[in-house]
């Protein structure tokens, strides 16, 4: 009973934070005729990120990106909920041959390394949080295919991962709302812009990229694990 109540409080908290965010942004924002020419001319200078696409979706259009992350979370929640309700097929669990296992043991760390690179350097080179998260999740998918989903679930507890996903969402929201505590408009820049092209530039974009990469990684893995558990194997 208390767990259910906690969950409801958690959900209401997240929804209230989003509604509040939209309301505050609506009240505080003044209409600005921002077109793509302005983005092209001033995006790098204003956001500090060499990657203009990252500058747009994590600075000018941060609210869109946040709602996108929320859509992703709702999808993960829906998949887990509906798959838990139905019975599943429970196919026998078979692991792959030793050749595949050895190849995967070599490839999976590379995927995680690529994920880290794309997340950390997403603001100065091609990449970004969403792509990085999907790369890491596919690296984990290789491992699950080669070694079996049971072995993966023993290492990564799906319940804990689902909790971690929500915690990351809350941290992301807290980071977005943090400027409000300092008496500024939420969604505005909290960290210094820096010199474009350097690693520590682009203000909060680096933090957002890393948080979104973790979020997408955990969420995509939660979806894969739910499907695999439902079927019994991948």
């Amino acid at each position: 009973m208390t767990r259910d109540r906690l969950r409801i409080i958690f959900a209401v908290g997240i929804i209230a934070a989003f509604v509040g965010l939209i309301g505050i942004t609506y009240i505080c924002s003044s209409p600005d005729p921002a077109d793509s020419e302005r983005y092209l001319a001033r995006a790098v200078e204003e956001t500090g990120a060499s990657n203009r696409v990252a500058g747009i979706y994590l600075n000018y259009r941060l609210l869109d990106t946040l709602l996108e992350v929320l859509v992703f979370s709702v999808a993960v929640l829906g998949v887990r909920h509906y798959l838990q309700q139905s019975e599943g097929m429970k196919l026998p669990n078979l692991s792959e041959s030793e050749v595949v296992q050895t190849a995967v043991n070599f490839l999976a760390p590379l995927a995680l390394l690529l994920c880290t690179f794309f997340a950390v350097f997403g603001h100065i080179s091609p990449g970004g949080g969403f792509a990085a998260g999907v790369i890491a999740a596919s690296g984990l998918l290789y491992v699950a295919i080669a070694h079996g989903i049971q072995a993966m679930n023993a290492q990564l507890n799906p319940v804990r991962l689902a909790l971690m996903e929500k915690v990351i969402l809350l941290v992301l929201l807290a980071f977005v709302l943090a400027p409000a505590v300092a008496g500024r408009i939420p969604l505005t820049e909290l960290l210094p812009t820096g010199t474009p092209g350097k690693l520590l530039s682009g203000g909060s974009i680096l933090v957002y990229n890393i948080l979104i990469a973790m979020k997408v990684f955990v969420g995509a893995w939660a979806v894969i694990a739910a499907f695999a558990q439902h079927r019994g194997e991948l």
Partner: protein, 121 residues
């Protein structure tokens, strides 16, 4: 050119979505429609001789319009969400009716509804 390919792919997707009876193929068609939309949106941001919109030191060349590329990210994520959820619903339907044929599933559902309306006659 890319826009024409996008329209052709979109057309194939819509035709498959409407005419094919298999639910999994319908989902694949939905994915194709989404990919075509993404291709179209990215292609309208292109300019002749343009490169990726990433600023390198001392570089003042022509770059592609970054705005459609940034907006397309939403389309990709929403497509992932829709496909994952729709796949779950298809799995539930298949477990219940043992077919992916949409018309047969509708017939089975109509029969079930009839059975419920006229009990023990």
């Amino acid at each position: 050119m890319a826009a024409i390919i996008a329209f052709v792919l979109f057309g194939i997707g819509v035709v498959a979505l409407v005419l094919r009876r298999d639910l999994v193929i319908k989902l694949l068609a939905l994915g194709l429609i989404n990919a075509a939309s993404i291709l179209f949106l990215v292609s309208i941001g292109d300019r002749p001789g343009a490169r990726a919109p990433i600023q390198l030191p001392g570089d003042l060349g022509i770059v592609a319009d970054p705005l459609p590329q940034a907006l397309v990210l939403s389309a990709i994520v929403v497509n992932f969400a829709i496909l994952a959820l729709a796949l779950v619903f298809v799995m539930i339907l298949v477990e219940r009716y043992h077919t992916t044929d949409s018309i047969r599933i509708e017939q089975e559902m109509a029969r079930e509804a009839d059975d419920q309306e006229t009990p023990c006659l």
